[in-house]
């Protein structure tokens, strides 16, 4: 160590381009050309398409026209349904965020700017394909026409909450919609999705699984387990990474984005990897469809990196102005997913500004009405809405004695306190 004529080592600590107050300049950003990436056949071996991890699949160009081989050529009703689901997701987020701010519940998380990554994916999957979401995929439920009043009941932990007030707001579970119970522990759903897909394959079923996690969450060991098992058993699963550039206050560099793309993780395992413009609903749809076709035909798993931007704070507990420039979202070079799809359908002549404005109004009203409906069942802030008995249920299928005793003790306790 000493006496050797060697340079001192130094530790590299990543640093984002922009911090609060910085002028944001994206002129370095090399905009991938819409339609430029070729679409390989779905049976192509991963080794033959490694380059897909370093480019970006984009379908919609600046004028909102669909370009190239990845254009999924969707029917007008599908396009409009996706647009509507995305707009509803945003309207829902706006209202429920406000509800939390008004003190009606404890917590909320928006997915603003990322709606395409769940809504378009949901449309490219079959309804009975199983989704293993993280906490920012409310768009899946909305795209699957799950009643938003049910979602609000959960957010309010009220009498009608099917989860009996046990979960933090937005940690939905909707088995009927093939939407897995959301965990507060990051990335745990990843190996679970792989296991579900392995089970489906072992049964000769035709249903596939899809999972979502954030780019920050890829650092968890669960990500590695999922990738390894998916590769080894060629599981019929789609593993989505939503790279929205931020993980609370940490930029994507702390998950490894300085060194390579997240799609490239796939290469390490010999898995197919795609990288798409996550703000381009058609690209998301097309990539998901490609991966689903692959999985369904026993060609194995696909990792999809959705390149997008978290336009709002991490959650209601967060203040993003403390760590990033507010300008970033505004200037995001890949635009807004709703605006881009809207432009596309208007360009196709199947939509117009008036209908859009009317739809926005209708959706806002719909959310308002659902909220009112849900509030009939109570809000968290008004105190406990759940039956106390239920607290001890579902720990096990059959309640064991010690829980029965504790339940009794609790009820006596409440009686003693005159509650």
């Amino acid at each position: 160590m000493t006496g050797r004529n060697l340079p001192p080592l130094s530790l590299h600590i990543p640093e984002p381009d922009f911090r609060p107050g910085d002028e944001v300049d994206y002129s370095d950003f090399e905009m991938p050309v819409a339609g430029a990436v070729a679409r390989p056949a779905t049976e192509t071996a991963p080794a033959a398409i490694r380059d897909m991890s370093y480019v970006m699949i984009r379908v919609l160009d600046d004028e909102g026209r669909a370009q190239g081989m990845w254009d999924p050529r969707l029917a007008p009703e599908t396009l409009l349904k996706m647009l509507r689901s995305m707009a509803l997701t945003r309207a829902f987020d706006d209202r429920l965020y406000r509800a939390q701010r008004q003190g009606k519940t404890s917590f909320y998380m928006k997915c603003t700017g990322e709606e395409a990554t769940s809504v378009a994916a949901a449309h490219a999957l079959a309804y009975d394909d199983m989704c293993f979401p993280s906490y920012r995929q409310q768009g899946l439920l909305i795209a699957r026409d799950w009643p938003i009043v049910d979602m609000i009941n959960q957010i309010y932990s009220n009498r009608a909450d099917r989860l009996k007030g046990r979960q933090l707001p937005i940690m939905y579970s909707a088995r009927e919609a093939n939407f897995f119970s959301i965990s507060g522990n990051l990335t745990t759903q990843y190996p679970q999705a792989v296991g579900w897909a392995m089970a489906s394959a072992s049964r000769g079923d035709t249903r596939i699984a899809a999972a979502w996690c954030g780019e920050g969450s890829t650092a968890e060991g669960d990500f590695h387990s999922a990738m390894t098992f998916a590769a080894v058993y060629r599981a019929p699963v789609i593993l989505n990474v939503i790279n929205n550039q931020w993980a609370i206050s940490s930029f994507s560099g702390f998950a490894g984005a300085e060194a390579t793309t997240f799609a490239a993780r796939a290469i390490g395992y010999g898995i197919a990897g795609l990288r798409v413009d996550g703000n381009d609903a058609l690209a998301v749809y097309a990539a998901t469809q490609w991966a689903a076709d692959r999985a369904r035909n026993n060609h194995g798993p696909t990792l999809i990196e959705h390149f997008t931007y978290r336009a709002e704070g991490h959650s209601t507990s967060d203040d993003p102005t403390k760590y990033r420039s507010a300008d970033e979202g505004v200037k995001w070079p890949l635009g807004d997913p709703i605006a881009r799809l809207k432009k596309h359908v208007i360009g196709l002549g199947i939509w117009d500004e008036e209908r859009h404005a009317a739809m926005d109004k209708e959706l806002a009203e719909m959310v308002r009405a659902a909220q009112k409906e849900a509030e009939k069942n109570g809000i968290l802030a008004d105190g406990l809405k759940q039956s106390f008995d239920s607290m001890f249920e579902d720990v096990f299928e059959v309640m064991p004695d010690h829980l029965r005793d504790q339940q009794k003790q609790m009820l006596e306790e409440r009686r003693a306190a005159g509650i």
Binding site: M130, F132, R162, L163, K164, R166, Q167, M171, S173, A174, R175, F180, S181, S183, G184, N185, T188, Y190, P191, Q192, A193, V194, G195, W196, A197, M198, A199, S200, S202, R203, A209, G221, D222, H224, S225, A226, T228, F229, V232, D394, V395, F396, E397, P400, D401, H402
Partner: protein
Amino acid sequence: MSIATESAGETRTMNMIQAINSALDVAMGRDDATVVLGEDVGFFGGVFKATEGLQKKYGKTRVFDTPISENGIIGVAVGMATYGLRPIPEIQFADYIYPGLDQLVSEAARLRYRSAGEFTAPITVRTPFGGGIFGGQTHSQSPEALFAHVSGLKTVIPSNPYDAKGLLIAAIEDNDPVIFFEPKRIYNGPFDGHYDRPVSPWSRFAESAVPDGYYTVPLGKAKLVREGDDVTILAYGTMVHVARGVIDETGIDAELIDLRTLVPLDVETIVASVRKTGRCVVVHEATRTGGFGAELSALVQEHCFHSLEAPVERVTGWDTPYPHSLEWAYFPGPVRLTEALKRVMQD
């Protein structure tokens, strides 16, 4: 013991490995949703041979090797369970379960509750545990207390071939996640703690008479191994045999209870016994502080305070990592137990 009405078949002599293998065989034969997975469990049949022959019989998609990732093993098992399968993952040694703990504790154990019953994780994690084989720090641990503290998880520990089979089938059929600890020291024969004497094979003991077919031993029911009047010994796994040996040697009229399941615990049987004897010694291999013995001791004094004539004693491993060469100084063997019994009896 409850033997199901269905014929349990002929009875054979089995050691614990054979009984566990038979349980897996029976469970897999009855329900094609059962799946066995883990490191080396497939072609090889497991490093302790518990899964021998199963891959050949049930095929590679129902019995298969996995990557060396305890996290992945339990994680995919949970996913398979939510699909509708009934996975039986093996963790090669309990000492290696920590990388997979999150999937067990935060996911499998909490899933029914958090989804209000929409999703469940009926998995049975089998894992050899305990010391006495000169396995050193990482092939000897007894981490059962960590699991017993987790709500939503059942913790089962058999002490003989008959129970091992019956409890394992019950665990597999149970709709909740179960961790099934196998005391590896007694796979081939009960061990009374006299490490310097040859071990008798299971065939010399009544509990090695195991029906070939289906039967269950219900979870949550302790077994009264021996009735006695002077003191109650609470034990599980290998320590049941150490206790039995000490009773035989000392002639102490102890009532010996094999807990079999830590969660849910058969408090009734424990309390009835201690109320009768007025004294209690709790035994386990795990380190003392925060071990399951603490829970037992606490429960006994809560329920039997006015019957107790002496403090509940804990006979346990020491609060050190499991040492290799000093294994027998660490292990709570006959001497430590006898001394404790003497103390409790004289009080």
